[in-house]
């Protein structure tokens, strides 16, 4: 019974003087929309510069922000994302809203001095986020 009541409470109240701009507001993109942010770190901050020779600066980037309701075209999200949004809004708010996460990465080349004194150049997959998506 409680769930029905809470859902009833969520239905938009269509009053006579319903304000269209209010209605469209829900389709606008959120102020802090899901997007890519920089985080430049140097390995000396982590005290690893005595064995990571290069690169000096590493910007792994990260995704942060709210996912708009109509995510389809802008984030390359699957239809499932909108289904999850509808479930959250209309059926069960305990289901989380879609999250803003990295959707594409680029590799990173690292030059390190190994414990035995040898030197290694290695290319690692998926070390820098290059695009965000809502999932």
């Amino acid at each position: 019974g409680q769930k029905a009541v809470s859902l009833e409470a969520k239905k938009p109240h269509l009053t006579a003087s319903f304000n269209l701009s209010e209605y469209f507001k829900q389709f606008l993109f959120p102020q802090n929309e899901c997007e890519l942010h920089d985080f430049r770190l140097s390995f000396s901050q982590l005290k690893w510069d005595n064995w990571i020779v290069a690169p000096h600066r590493y910007n792994p980037r990260y995704c942060k922000g709210d996912c708009p309701r109509a995510v389809r075209h802008r984030y390359g999200s699957p239809v499932h994302t909108m289904v999850q949004n509808i479930i959250y809004e209309k059926l069960d708010p305990s289901v989380p809203r879609p999250s803003c996460v990295p959707g594409k990465y680029s590799p990173l080349s690292v030059l390190t001095i190994e414990p035995d004194g040898s030197i290694a150049y290695k290319e690692y997959e998926d070390m820098i986020a290059t695009r965000c998506t809502c999932r």
């Binding site: 001095i113 035995d116 290319e123």
Partner: protein, 283 residues
């Protein structure tokens, strides 16, 4: 007993605080699981936070690898798309020299046989050898416009080579003026050793050089500054390593399980061609 209990609590909370640095958050509780769950980079990072490497590499070797890094990656560390090679790992090993080279850094030919011992423990089972070279550094007194032809003898002492395998004599000529380093290809010799997970290689090298314009002068003083380093160009087939050619055809990812890597790893180029053909056919 109140005091000792309080003491125990302070000790416990101190232990928790010391563990609170980020890498311990990444590590599972059981120490033993560490290697399975963490990609090699984090395993190395988590094992070695703040720890300096035990042995420092030779400065010339480090200078060479820094130049290689600048050739292959941007300042931000992103591999340059222009590079066409298939290797995603390059390892440089400095030798444990068994005999001291001739005094004064000037080694006059014919060079004495220099015994070199390389320990390749850092090469993982997922790294497959594509190319290997001995890298000689010439000191700056080498600047001369003459072309020099060197013939060098390379004998692998351990592991013992199959009987009857003649050590290669590779005539090798180069113009001293242009070279700061000399790369001598030893791929055919090392391929079977690295593939058979041999990790300790003992070889003897010597080479004699004559100036092309004046062969009657006999052998030439070879201005070597230090014993050679061994460079291995490898294709790391683990899932965390970057495979540039497969990113063009994202349908195929390197095998995640060691058992399958023998098929997927070796005919690397053929696999890429196959994927290319099927991708084009589908298009």
């Amino acid at each position: 007993s109140q005091a000792s209990r309080g003491e125990a609590q302070t000790r416990a909370s101190a232990a928790l605080e010391s563990e609170a640095d980020p890498w311990s958050l990444l590590l599972p509780v059981e120490e033993t699981d560490r290697s399975g769950l963490l990609p090699p980079l984090f395993k190395v990072l988590s094992d070695r936070r703040g720890e300096a490497p035990k042995l420092q590499p030779d400065s010339r070797a480090l200078y060479y690898m820094k130049k290689l890094y600048k050739t292959y990656a941007t300042k931000e560390g992103v591999p340059k798309p222009s590079r066409s090679h298939l290797y995603n790992t390059v390892r440089l090993f400095s030798p444990y020299v068994k005999q001291e080279p001739a005094p004064g850094n000037q080694v006059t030919g014919p060079l004495p046989m220099v015994d070199l011992l390389f320990n390749l423990d850092r090469v993982t089972a997922m790294e497959h050898l594509l190319k290997s070279v001995l890298l000689y550094t010439l000191n700056n007194s080498a600047a001369s416009s003459s072309t020099v032809t060197c013939v060098w003898d390379l004998v692998v002492k351990e592991p013992t080579m199959p009987s009857g395998k003649a050590p290669p004599r590779v005539p090798y000529s180069f113009t001293l003026k242009k070279h700061k380093w000399i790369e001598m290809d030893v791929t055919s010799l090392l391929q079977p050793l690295v593939a058979s997970s041999e990790r300790s290689i003992h070889m003897s090298v010597n080479f004699t050089c004559t100036k092309d314009q004046a062969p009657e002068d006999g052998v030439f003083n070879m201005p070597l500054s230090v014993p050679p380093s061994l460079i291995l160009y490898l294709n790391d087939t683990s899932a965390q390593a970057y495979h540039s050619w497969h990113s063009l055809h994202s349908t195929w990812r390197p095998s995640q399980h060691p058992g399958q890597d023998s098929v997927a790893a070796h005919p690397v180029k053929e696999e890429a061609m196959e994927v290319e053909r099927s991708a084009r056919h589908r298009r």
